[in-house]
Amino acid sequence: MYEHLPQPRGRRFFIEQERGVTDVRVEIGLAHVRVRAGSGEKGLQNHLKVLETIAEQGVNVSLVKIHHDWITFAVSQADVPRITHCLDSLGLDHKIVPNLALVITVAANMRESAGIMAQIAESLWEADAHIIETGDSHDTVQCLVPEERAFAAAQSLRRRFQLGEVVR
C-alpha cells in the first residue's frame, strides 16, 4: 500500500535501547562493615543507634543489609577511621573488611532477566573474586569484592557479556 513512499536511508536508527548487559563499571576504595546488633527490640534499637551515630559524623552508607544478629553496610575506605571510632564508642562488636571495590553490572530491566545473577556469579568465580555482598536495582547488580580482584572480575564480566575491554 505504501511502497511508493520514500524509504529511509543511511544508518539504522534503533528506537529502543538494547536488552541485556550494556556496561560493567568498577568503583574502588570501599570497606564493608559488619556490626553485631543482636536480635529483637534491642537489635532494632542498635540498628538505629549505629546508623544514626554514623550519620552524625556525616558518613554515607550503602548496601545496608539486615541479617539475624547483624547489620552490614559499605562505606568509603576514607571513612573507616571515623567508623571505627563510632563503633568503638558504641561498644558494639564489629568487623571491618577494608580494600574492597564495587563491580557494577548494568543492564536494562535486570529484575526480569532470569539467569543474570548466575552469569555474574560464574564470571566472578572464574576471576577468583569472592563476593562479599551484593545489591541489586532494576538496572544494576552491584557486587562488593576484594579490590585486588575487581579489575579481573570486570574483565571476566565484559568477556562473558561481549563488551569491550575495561579501561583501568
Partner: protein
C-alpha cells in the same frame, strides 16, 4: 507540522461516552494546530469482550493443557488493539473529522521476533506522515508491530509485552520527532503514592525520566518504564494526563530541561503489588560457601526464576523469588543434595521451612548409607512468605547521610518488621510482610512527603 502523540488506555476507550471524551481531546489538539497521532489500547479490562486478557483466556480455554503457540498468541492479542483503533477512528469520523486506522505494522513499527515481548527496532513513519499531510487524524494500534522480515514472507505480527501501548506512543514520538507524547489515563498525573492508600497524594507537576522509570519499576502503574526510557533516549517531553479532567497533569522530562523547575527531593512512595517469597539459606561459614552459592544461582537460572534482593553474609545467602514461582522453587530445593569440591569433599542437603518434608527425609535416609565416607552438612532454608517491597523514590536524597536511619526509624516506630533493605542512587526499599504494606506506605509518605522531615536532618 507539529506532531502530537496522544495515547489512550483501556479505561479511556471502554464506553461510547469515554471514547467521545477522548475524541474531543484529540479534536481540540487538532483545532489548536497540532497534527495528532492517536495510540489506543484494547477496549476495557479483563472481562470486557475485546480486552487483551479476555482474548488470551478465550484461546487458552480451548484446552488449558496445551499452551498456545506464541506466534498465534500474538496474533490473537493484537486483535484487541486493532478493534479499538477502528472504533476510535470511526468515532472521530462520526464527529466530523477525517481519521484513518492503522495497525502497528501499517504504521511502520518494526520489531525483533520475540513474540509476546518484542523490542521496537525501527519505525518507518512514511505512511503516518502521508496521512497527516493529507489532514487526517492517524489512529495507531498500540502494543504491536511486525517482526523484521528475513525470508521475504509477509511479516508476522508481534506484541510488545506489558505496557506495550505506552511503548508504542513513546516510540512513535521518537520516530516522528513529535513535540510531545501525552499518555492519558484515569488519574490526573504521577502521584506521590497510590491514591487508593493515600487519597490526598499529591500530583507531581514535573518529574525526571529517571525518576518516573524508577517509580514504574518499583510498582507504580501510571506509566510503563520502557516508555519513559524511550522518551529519555530521544529526549521527547512526555505528559501523563487524565482523560476525564482538564488538569495539567505531570510533565516527564530530562533533569537538564527541568533546570529552574523545582524537581521534588522526594518523588514519592511506591509498592509492588505482586507477592514475593524471601529465602535465607543458612549455608554456614564453610570454605565451600561460594561454590554452593554459585550452584544455587545456576539452579535458579535453569528453572528461569528471576531473583531480587540478593544478599550475602558470612554464613548465609538470601534472595527473593516471585510468589507465583514459589512452588517450583520449593520443589527444586527441598531435599536437594549438592556436592561441593572436585572430587566432592562434602555434601550439602537443603531443608526448606521449619518442618522436614517427606522429600527431605527420604534423601536424608539415603545419604545415611554413605556413613562416614563423606561429610553431609544440612542447609536450613528459612522461608518468609507473602512479602512485598515498599520503596521511597528520592534521587536527591538516597545517598544523604542519615536517610537510611530515618527510613528505618519511621518503619520501626510504626511497629513494622523490616525483613530486608535495598538502596540505590534513586531509591531506598524495604521488604515487609504484605499485611504491613499499606501502613508502611502511609508512614513513609507522612514522614518524607507530607512532613518533609528529612529537611531537618
Amino acid at each position: 507540522m507539529k506532531i502530537l502523540v496522544m495515547k489512550f488506555g483501556g479505561t479511556s476507550v471502554d464506553s461510547p461516552e469515554h471514547r467521545e471524551i477522548a475524541a474531543r481531546k484529540v479534536i481540540r489538539a487538532k483545532e489548536d494546530g497540532f497534527a495528532p497521532v492517536v495510540v489506543v489500547s484494547a477496549i476495557g479490562r479483563r472481562g470486557a469482550p475485546y480486552a487483551t486478557d479476555t482474548l488470551i483466556e478465550f484461546l487458552r480455554s480451548i484446552d488449558p493443557s496445551v499452551p498456545p503457540n506464541p506466534r498465534e498468541m500474538d496474533l490473537m492479542m493484537a486483535c484487541g488493539e486493532i478493534i479499538s483503533t477502528v472504533v476510535m477512528a470511526h468515532t472521530l469520523k462520526t464527529m466530523g473529522y477525517d481519521a484513518v486506522a492503522l495497525t502497528g505494522g501499517q504504521a511502520g513499527i518494526i520489531t525483533d521476533n520475540e513474540y509476546g515481548n518484542a523490542r521496537v527496532l525501527q519505525i518507518h513513519p512514511q505512511a503516518i506522515r502521508h496521512h497527516l499531510e493529507a489532514g487526517r487524524i492517524v489512529v495507531v494500534a498500540g502494543f504491536q508491530g511486525v517482526a523484521e522480515d528475513k525470508l521475504g514472507f509477509h511479516p508476522d505480527i508481534t506484541t510488545l509485552g506489558r505496557g506495550g501501548s505506552d511503548t508504542t506512543a513513546s516510540a512513535l514520538g521518537a520516530a516522528l520527532n513529535a513535540v510531545a507524547v501525552e499518555i492519558y489515563t484515569d488519574v490526573d498525573g504521577v502521584k506521590t503514592a497510590d491514591p487508593d492508600i493515600i487519597p490526598d497524594a499529591r500530583t507531581l507537576p514535573v518529574i525526571s525520566y529517571e525518576e518516573v522509570a524508577e517509580i514504574a519499576h518499583q510498582g507504580a502503574k501510571v506509566l510503563h518504564p520502557r516508555a519513559a526510557e524511550i522518551a529519555m533516549l530521544h529526549n521527547i517531553p512526555l505528559w501523563v494526563k487524565c482523560t476525564f479532567t482538564d488538569e495539567p497533569g505531570t510533565l516527564v522530562t530530562s533533569s537538564e530541561s527541568a533546570e529552574g523547575v523545582d524537581l521534588p527531593e522526594v518523588t514519592g512512595v511506591t509498592h509492588i503489588t505482586g507477592k514475593i517469597v524471601y529465602l535465607i539459606f543458612h549455608i554456614g561459614e564453610t570454605p565451600e560457601k561460594p561454590e554452593i552459592e554459585l550452584q544455587l544461582y545456576r539452579l535458579m537460572a535453569q528453572a528461569d526464576i528471576n531473583l531480587y534482593l540478593n544478599s550475602y553474609s558470612h554464613d548465609t545467602l538470601s534472595f527473593a523469588v516471585p510468589r507465583d514461582r514459589w512452588s517450583l522453587v520449593q520443589s527444586l530445593l527441598d531435599g536437594l543434595v549438592m556436592p561441593a569440591g572436585n572430587p566432592p569433599q562434602r555434601l550439602f542437603i537443603f531443608r526448606v521451612g521449619d518442618k522436614p518434608s517427606r522429600e527431605y527425609l527420604l534423601q536424608k535416609q539415603m545419604l545415611s548409607a554413605l556413613g562416614e565416607a563423606i561429610p553431609v552438612q544440612e542447609v536450613p532454608v528459612e522461608v518468609l512468605e507473602n512479602c512485598t517491597m515498599v520503596s521511597l523514590i528520592a534521587a536527591k536524597l538516597s545517598r544523604r547521610p542519615g536517610i537510611m536511619a530515618l527510613f528505618l526509624r519511621t518503619l520501626y516506630e510504626a511497629g513494622i518488621q523490616v525483613l530486608q533493605t535495598a538502596d540505590s542512587e534513586m531509591s531506598l526499599s524495604c521488604l515487609v510482610n504484605e499485611s504491613d504494606v499499606e501502613k508502611a506506605v502511609r508512614v513513609l509518605h507522612e514522614r518524607f512527603v507530607t512532613e518533609r522531615a528529612y529537611a531537618r536532618q
